[in-house]
């Protein structure tokens, strides 16, 4: 990654960053994937059109939304269904949905639509091809959908408190990308500049789904009454797309060490770059203050019924008050204001506040930090193990990467209480209790800390090259590879115990979802949750006149 001249500040220690409590306090930032997408679409003047609308008065049919960039066009093919209420479930084990989607590479012809109609509504049970980049589905928010249709049909606007409470008309329950169910491999598309940053096809899918859903609800109101009115544009923007996410996303963080490193290293680099700014202009200081006030509003508007999240929200709200208090008398004119503020924050704020501050510090400095987005993709083809290294190197590597794991008593029941496994039922990732017995044989290698400690113990008394050790102990091969990755990718590994009795999978989910750009993280248990995507974002036709970043915090 290129380092600008003013970079004077060291990146944060991975031992500080890569623990579950801090990962579980991450916030969206300028380097979140939704924001990267909208900045590009605005910069390049993308045109989004509804190329086909074939939805009937009962809300059944299909539509095509095409997004045309400078080099290529991508089309959301949306199918709307008549779903009986009793079939509506967000679980991955569901088999029917209100709407189903795919992102087509190009503009589909009639034969493509017919092929997709036979497969996309089936989701995991159907097949897509290398012409498709994603596969997704969404269900209505029952609370809000009927209210909106009825009000609009009656020529009235909405009960805003209900809109605020829910924040979306539909929530996606899966957005499958790269290579899934026959879709194009990432290798096929990663050279395209517009899809180079992570999850851009998935984010574009959701952005277009949002446009479709809002058009659909207005269509349904018109079908009920000739007097129906469209949504007020300001109210319309308050709707994002919800997303229900379960455990399935958590293993991703451990399964993609190089990718995760690149995400976190990009953000840490950006934070260090801003801390290295010698002098803040008045405009930059004002922008920071304004964003901090808006983040405080966000902290108060953000609701959750889950006790874990309520405690985090209390922490965030308290920290935001402390931060705004500090800003009221902070000297922005003395040299290195952001580094001083950051170091103050490390002492005065808790995890939620610190991580919110890290995200806020990037806001005035798009010109410096936005290019880090180009470094967030990763080549994930397996690295060749360097078998010529001495096992003593490996031992030292474990001491450096996993010092904490070497102090844990791994025989204590709570330290290995959990088992990550995959269920035969729709191949759903699950988390079980080791003590209950029957899932241990199916355990996935999703605890790098425990595995590193086990390798360290196995290395006791060993000498000679790694190759010889692996010949006798192939069971440690996966861990040796991880460690050789971690040697050069500082943020690749979660340092905490990911199978501890007290581990909350939602911490892993929050880390990943913050990089998506999700807001209103709302856990429903310790292992599944809802979020909102693109809430308050400009719609495609508004993007040319709008700030592609300004929507991410509420207006104060």
């Amino acid at each position: 990654m290129s380092v600008p001249a003013q970079q004077k500040v060291a990146l944060r220690d991975p031992q500080v960053v890569m623990n579950l409590k801090r990962l579980g306090a991450f916030h969206q930032s300028r380097l979140s994937f939704m924001r990267i997408l909208l900045r590009r679409m605005k910069r390049e003047g993308w045109r989004v059109t509804c190329a086909e609308w074939a939805v009937d008065a009962t809300g059944v049919g299909h539509a095509v939304y095409s997004a045309q960039g400078p080099d290529r066009t991508y089309s959301l093919v949306a199918f709307a269904h008549d779903l009986p209420p009793e079939a509506r479930s967000d679980r991955v084990i569901a088999t029917a949905w209100d709407t189903t989607f795919t992102l087509f590479d190009g503009v589909p012809e009639a034969a493509d639509i017919e092929r997709l109609r036979a497969n996309v509504p089936l989701q995991e049970a159907g097949r897509i091809t290398e012409r498709e980049l994603t596969l997704s589905r969404a269900n209505r928010s029952v609370r809000l959908w009927d209210h909106v249709v009825q009000r609009l049909a009656a020529g009235q606007q909405l009960d805003l408190s209900l809109v605020e409470q829910v924040g979306y008309l539909m929530r996606t329950t899966a957005v499958y990308g790269s290579a899934k169910f026959g879709a194009a491999d990432r290798a096929q598309i990663e050279a395209r500049p517009e899809l180079r940053a992570p999850f851009q096809a998935e984010m574009l899918t959701v952005y277009l789904i949002r446009a479709f859903v809002m058009d659909l609800v207005e269509h349904m109101a018109r079908a009920q009454s000739a007097d129906a009115v469209p949504l007020d544009p300001d109210v319309r923007r308050r709707f994002g797309i919800g997303n229900s996410t379960g455990l399935g996303m958590a293993p991703f963080v451990m399964n993609h060490p190089r990718l995760i490193h690149n995400w976190i290293a990009a953000r840490e680099w950006a934070l260090a770059a801003v801390r290295g700014v010698r002098q803040a202009s008045e405009a930059e200081a004002a922008s920071f203050r304004a964003h901090a006030r808006r983040a405080e509003v966000n902290a108060f508007e953000w609701q959750s019924e889950h006790p874990i999240q309520q405690a985090k929200l209390a922490e965030l709200r308290g920290d935001m008050a402390v931060l705004l208090g500090e800003l009221a008398q902070f000297d922005f004119e003395a040299p290195y204001p952001w580094d001083r503020l950051w170091r103050w924050g490390e002492m005065a704020l808790r995890l939620e506040g610190q991580e919110q501050l890290a995200a806020l510090l990037l806001e005035p400095y798009g010109a410096i930090v936005d290019t880090a987005a180009d470094q967030m993709a990763a080549d994930e083809s397996p690295i060749r193990i360097d078998g010529g290294r001495d096992v003593a190197d490996l031992r030292r590597l474990i001491e450096r990467v996993h010092p904490q794991a070497l102090t844990v008593d791994w025989d204590a029941p709570e330290e290995q209480a959990r088992v990550w496994y995959v269920s035969a039922e729709k191949l759903e990732p699950r988390l079980g209790e080791r003590a209950e017995g029957d899932v241990e044989p199916y355990a996935q290698p999703l605890c790098p800390a425990r595995d590193a400690a086990a390798l360290y113990a196995a290395l006791d008394g060993e000498t000679g090259p790694v190759a010889g050790f692996l010949l006798r102990h192939p069971e440690h091969r996966h861990t040796v590879r991880r460690l050789q990755i971690a040697e050069t990718h500082a943020y690749a590994e979660v340092r905490d115990n990911t199978i501890h009795a007290d581990m909350a999978p939602i911490d892993l989910l929050r880390a990943k979802l913050s990089f998506f750009g999700a807001t209103r993280f709302d856990p429903r248990s310790d292992r599944w949750l809802r979020i909102t995507m693109f809430q308050n974002a400009p719609f495609p036709k508004e993007l040319s006149e709008a700030d592609p970043d300004g929507w991410c915090y509420p207006v104060s």
Binding site: K180, G182, R430
Partner: protein, 189 residues
């Protein structure tokens, strides 16, 4: 009948299938990578793995992935014959990086011989699937062609790999269904 699979799908299936035969995760990852590598170069990687797994289910003798990774770790090709191993095609992804710069390796198994380059060029007949000794010697490097972006997998192969992969999934129980993924609160609102 053949199936059109994305390379990522095939790689993920191969990983699980190798796990399903009792191979450690780290070796299964190598197997999956090897299948993808062969497929990208127009060879039937899935068929080679299915044959190998069927012959070595639960026992490590004659495993071309075990041999290939050991050679890769050691960073050199020893003198003299290798193996015998099942599906010697699965050696190729591990032998290719061991080719000297600007040189190739000639790989002979049974009555089939092919040439391999460091860049992954393969020229010649596919090697047999059965247990065979393998001879390797230097040769001129073949050109590497364009990579294939999809896998065509025979139905019988897909069934074998899927059956092995299925062994890695825990049977669903009512309890795991209720607790494992974290449901329990109504999600229809």
């Amino acid at each position: 009948m053949t199936h059109d699979l994305s390379l990522g799908e095939l790689q993920s299936l191969a990983l699980k299938a190798a796990r399903g035969t009792g191979r450690p995760h780290g070796l299964a990852e190598e197997a999956a990578f090897g299948v993808r590598w062969l497929t990208e170069r127009g060879h039937d990687g899935a068929g080679a793995l299915a044959a190998l797994l069927s012959e070595t289910d639960g026992r490590p003798e004659g495993c071309s992935i075990g041999l290939g990774t050991a050679l890769s770790d050691a960073g050199a090709v020893p003198e003299g014959p290798l193996g015998p191993v099942y599906s010697p095609m699965m050696l190729l992804p591990f032998l290719a990086p061991l080719c000297a710069k600007d040189a190739g390796l000639s790989v002979t198994a049974g009555d089939a011989r092919l040439a391999l380059s460091r860049e992954g060029g393969i020229e010649g007949r596919a090697l047999p699937l059965g247990l065979t000794q393998v001879h390797v010697e230097p040769c001129a490097p073949p050109e590497a062609g364009p990579l294939h972006s999809r896998a065509r997998v025979e139905d019988a192969t897909l069934q074998v790999l899927t059956a092995f992969a299925f062994r890695t999934y825990a049977p669903a129980t009512d309890e795991s269904r209720a607790k494992g993924a974290g449901a329990g609160v109504s999600d229809n609102d």
